[in-house]
Symmetry: C2
Subunit: 433 residues, 2 copies
Amino acid sequence: MSKINKDLEKKFGSKKIKFDSETLIEYGQDWYKGIEPDPQAIFFPETAKDIQEIIYFAKKKGLKLLPSGGRTGLSGGATAVCKEIVVSMKNLNEINWIKGSHRLKCQAGVITETAKSMAKEKSRILPIDFSSTSSSMIGGNVATNAAGAKFIGYGSTKNHVRNMTVILPNGEITPLGKVAEKDASGPDLMELFIGSEGVFGFILDVTFETYPEPKFSESICLNADSLDDLYKIIQEPSDIISAIEFLDLNSQLLLSNEAPSKYEVLIELNSDSEDKIEYFLRDVVEKVSDVNLLNSRQTKLFWEKRELLPVKLSEMGAVKFDFCVDKLSTEKFMNEVEMNISKAKIFNFGHLGDGNIHLNIIFEEQNDEQVSVVYEILKSFGGSPSAEHGIGKRKKGIWNTFPQYKQKLKLLETLKKSIDPDEIIAPKVFFDN
Amino acid sequence: MSKINKDLEKKFGSKKIKFDSETLIEYGQDWYKGIEPDPQAIFFPETAKDIQEIIYFAKKKGLKLLPSGGRTGLSGGATAVCKEIVVSMKNLNEINWIKGSHRLKCQAGVITETAKSMAKEKSRILPIDFSSTSSSMIGGNVATNAAGAKFIGYGSTKNHVRNMTVILPNGEITPLGKVAEKDASGPDLMELFIGSEGVFGFILDVTFETYPEPKFSESICLNADSLDDLYKIIQEPSDIISAIEFLDLNSQLLLSNEAPSKYEVLIELNSDSEDKIEYFLRDVVEKVSDVNLLNSRQTKLFWEKRELLPVKLSEMGAVKFDFCVDKLSTEKFMNEVEMNISKAKIFNFGHLGDGNIHLNIIFEEQNDEQVSVVYEILKSFGGSPSAEHGIGKRKKGIWNTFPQYKQKLKLLETLKKSIDPDEIIAPKVFFDN
């Protein structure tokens, strides 16, 4: 055992700090497997003080730390690359209602699904929805500002965060967020940590707003050969739309023998008013021709198909992109990619209402040049290379070539240097240094 | 004319830079008159380049700059206190719709009312509502994150900002905000500038979301001797409530010979669904006894009274507080203040639905000790000393005594030092140095 590891074990005890290869492999990386993990050790703090202690230790010994949650990220943000001590938040998993409110206070290590279930027990919803809710953790959700199929109706994680406690790289425990409902005392610095991917410190706990469950739900399915009609609905979405998902022809045919049209689109409606849903449906029938109300079994089937798709495509070795373009330009964007990529099979699906396309390409042979072409097309559309999954260590080299982000990146680097001058926490994230 | 002023005039010309006493007085301060203004000069840039030039000039000569908008602030944020060159944004007042969207791009010097009217012309609303909309400017609104009577329904300015261009203290023009609708690429650094009161740089332009006009509106008036019943409505406000305003007994009697009860409360309802309003009204009648539907004349009269109140109280020399406490503790807070303040007349009114009380006190003789007592009570309620009007130079000495903000202030100072290491822009705001 190295001198550092001996010191770590002496200080924190063998329950909290691990060096065995099994733990190193399991906790050294997230779901993105394109980066070889290289952790020094895995630390399992049980209190805020444990985190402060590891910060002081790291500072003294010149070590690096990497916050880690459910490791469901897809950008390598939680993959150790330079002998970081991975700090798993999984034992910091207290969850409580704030008395006299509809707010749920979760420590970083609470599983997303646990928080959602706790809300449901009180007939409330925490509208954070993505396929990894059964293993992703609250701290990681906030740190990537995770969003999913319900973005169009409820926004991203950011929209539900009310308060937060963070531990800064200097070890200071810092409560952030608004003190009162209406609080015009300086900028809301909590915002810095939403989407921060850990670079500004540890998220210790997060307080979420919850919402009443909608009384009525319906889902409709549209089949169309062009998205023109749909854009009439998407342009100014009704407040009762909670999801608009789509599968293109290749995606449909991957899961089924037949596809009635080029695009299969599901629109999910939620409201307290049956009339509002009724009115919406009447309006849609006027705008779009081929539309069907789904029963609950059909709805469930659609979502199962939708969830299965990325898994299948992963197995088939697809190169996955997580893009967002202007929602009214999605079809134009997809056509542009198709026209410029050859010797490949292209799959498009995802969150049409937000312009968030999960583009998957199976190349005949892996082709970096063609990948670059895809990103150049995205740039020309003024889009984001990461709609949902963050930048991490995977996309930083791409991100910094986007002219739209050039100035933001410079400012982000200035802020990082001021909050974490020794770059102790989450090194090698965002910046290509 | 001093050497500095001669250099300024030589560089920028007498149209853009002024030193005459009339201009110095007019542009040297905001609506808060408790601080003696002391500007070096007033600068009227016409382009972003002008702002860059004044930054480089200030850096070279060791001068300070102070961004200034409509000067309707009430915290002395735009009052020059140490020979700053006041930079009035009034000539940067372009306003345009973003093509193919419902978004309005406003330069910092656009008058709030102009932006609201432009939205109205397209049957849209920009729900920023406060009494100074006819002279306040967009840059200042965003820099104080101004809110008003419609906070409960629409949030503060922050909720409507989609993008922003800022000029940093190093002169760099920096576009911020999300590149695409769904953009998980790092934290949204635009948030730093919302409520920044200018300390991080100049807000050059802001892009706002606008919303469809609601189809139906009603206002109801409630008279009550206790707020208990009302709390049932406030606890989880319906999404059709756009304002809940109240006047206490003293406030009512200042404007009228009679007051039917201790509290007069107006609830404004807005919805696309007449049924929803109808349902709400039926529900209110069950919860609260003395409730009346107002006709449009009565509604107008209430708002006129409400607007007149702060003006009258100013004339009478009231000490004004802009507090927010937990919305369900407003009555308890008001009682606590009344019990602990003597030889004074107390007036409470404001935005009950948000817990935002405009407490006004007319002391028999100005009494700093009693003012401190009020702030101590606020602290014990965990409230904010500035719900709407910002910290500026006026409240920084109070703000830094609030334990709730201690850590935030430290982090804010770290960020200020990193973005503006020479403290060129908006010195003496926030920090009591």
